[in-house]
Point group: C2
Chain length 365, copies 2
């Protein structure tokens, strides 16, 4: 069990060009990793760099007093009480609690999250899919209970899930799930999970899923006819290989959402997003963000896709329906879902970096 929670954004590309949504259904023999990480030299300013914590536990610890963390759920899940700091995002909380889970598990081998057996096999973990649903954004000073655990979605992948609740009332604020696959860091090819690694991590697997999803939602591929296009985007703040790599992922989300027209964004916020990773984007790449509004109307797009909506979300949607939206005209013209594609802008061809599908909701006034 290792850092299931933060992406190691190395270049991943499936040479089959398959649109298959589930990485575990891909034939691993056909998967190739192309290119190499082209990180521009950047400075990590007033920030910890790749400092690796000393005194990493070698055995499972049931309690981490300093972090207010506990091993729970039959001894394999993890729960941490977190007072939200003023700059923290949900992404931050996901990353931190997953790392701390691996920390107390005694499986952590290095600062980048590989387990002992993964290290022996030259394996690292890369995220292939991520889904986050937010019912409410925590704010500065709120006390949250964050649970996280791992599971097996298929033969060669693994899953990490999270549940973020308020400590006071137990309300679920956010849910997240992610799928990870193994990559050989020398050959840069995706790899089957060796038996030793499976033996090491499978005792930690839990069946429970934070987000019920019988069939992973398909994200269609957009092309240059997409309604909204932002071009010539550049990765500005790619950092050295350190624990902050999810920065890149959030940059992806930012690029996606900023392609949606401003007059919509001013009154709406993200309530859920699915990301499917295809290839890492190096610091030197020029990126294009394509975006297509969902063609279904607001009722369809809202209710169909969000079966497990919380009462809070239902209220938000209901009030949207009741009040309309002065900025964007009639209700029928307010799409609440958008499909996204980020691709490199190559001279001869473009390459997919990540597909996305979001669900927006009206902001509370």
């Amino acid at each position: 069990m290792a850092s299931f929670s933060y992406a190691i954004p190395l270049p991943i590309r499936c040479s089959t060009g398959s649109n298959n949504q589930d990485p575990n259904k891909q034939s691993l023999n056909k998967i190739k990793i192309t290119g190499s990480p082209t990180r521009s030299l950047k400075v990590d300013i007033l920030s910890q760099t790749a400092g690796i914590r000393q005194n990493i536990p070698t055995k499972k610890q049931l309690v981490d007093y300093h972090r207010q963390g506990l091993i729970i759920k039959e001894g394999v899940g993890y729960r941490q009480t977190v007072v939200i700091r003023s700059y923290e995002s949900i992404r931050n909380l996901l990353q931190e609690t997953a790392l701390n889970h691996v920390w107390v598990s005694g499986l952590l081998s290095n600062g980048f999250g590989a387990t002992h057996e993964m290290m022996k096999n030259d394996l690292i973990r890369v995220v292939s899919r991520m889904q986050v649903q937010v019912d409410r954004y925590p704010i500065w000073g709120e006390i949250m209970e964050i649970g996280t655990w791992v599971g097996a979605p298929g033969k060669n992948g693994m899953r990490r899930d999270w549940l973020i609740r308020s400590q006071a009332k137990g309300h679920v604020f956010a849910r997240a799930t992610s799928t990870w696959v193994m990559m050989n860091q020398k050959t840069r090819r995706l790899s089957k999970m060796p038996e030793e690694v499976m033996a090491e991590i499978s005792p930690w697997f839990i069946e429970k899923q934070a987000i019920q999803e019988d069939v992973p939602e398909k994200i269609s591929k957009l092309d240059s006819k997409a309604k909204y296009v932002n071009s010539n985007l550049k990765m500005e703040e790619t950092r050295d290989l350190d624990m902050n790599q999810l920065v890149n992922n959030m940059k992806y989300v930012r690029w996606m959402l900023e392609t949606i027209p401003d007059q919509f964004l001013v009154s709406h916020q993200l309530s859920s997003i699915i990301l499917e990773y295809r290839k890492e984007c190096g610091g030197s790449n020029i990126v294009q963000s394509l975006c297509k509004p969902d063609e279904d109307g607001i009722l369809n797009s809202g209710l169909k896709q969000n079966n497990d909506m919380s009462p809070l979300n239902r209220f938000s949607l209901a009030s949207e329906i009741m009040e309309g939206n002065g900025l964007l005209g009639s209700l029928d013209n307010v799409p609440l879902r958008y499909t996204h594609l980020l691709q490199t802008q190559g001279e001869t061809k473009n390459e997919e970096i990540v597909r996305g599908k979001d669900h927006m909701e009206e902001k509370a006034i």
Copy 2:
């Protein structure tokens, strides 16, 4: 006493064009604030937005159990035990502890850090100068004790200082000091501090200074003849008016340092920086970063400017002197200090945004 720790980056400009380093020596009558905040619409993704904490204490609290915070130093300073999270920077720690200090003080009036009397007077606080010295960067999981307090540097300003120590051994990892002035948020002019505000906050003042500085160091103004110039920089991630505004400040530092040649940055890191704010940079501005290496040699630049160097820094510098630097040639050619200027690139004239002066040190291998 309010959020002395995070900048409210509204446009500030001194119409006198004075190069005076100390904002408290400026004649307030001559100070004008020009322009208005030109924030581009951006989305705050998977992140708390301007959510304002409810149940703000109205009376001083001596202990904040959840945050492991305490009122100390004769009842007016604040100390918090912090386990470093994987994405945290020193800037984050400064911001968070200052906010929490104001929180427990019972003076917090709104989420943007104004006190009750400041609110009545339409005043907000803006940072005019910031200085940070880092002996060692904390890493993920380290337990730090962060002390912070406020003081009066002059008639119309105030100071907030910080000391970041390791809990285990008490070593000082970093020191910081900042100067703040009052601004009327309606007229956008700098303001004298009204007696009611002074009466409210002065009981919290402590004489102690985290960084001894008898005379604030002057930062000379650079012009287009500066050795290194990066042009056409754009503020990409300006966020809505929320608690994350120090992001902008760190963007400034990043722009400054990224103007230093890569072959130097790969082996060196920031050990201290002074920033002097002149004018806020809106999201639509195009920015130019000018940089000039210190002409003094390594010995002068290192030892002269860092009188209160810690043994750690001395060692680092000594080893630098002993070992030389293979990348940049002879020792005499390795400047360790750089002067910076960020300015807007206007069609007719450029305007100063912020001046900076840094001190770099060799990275530990």
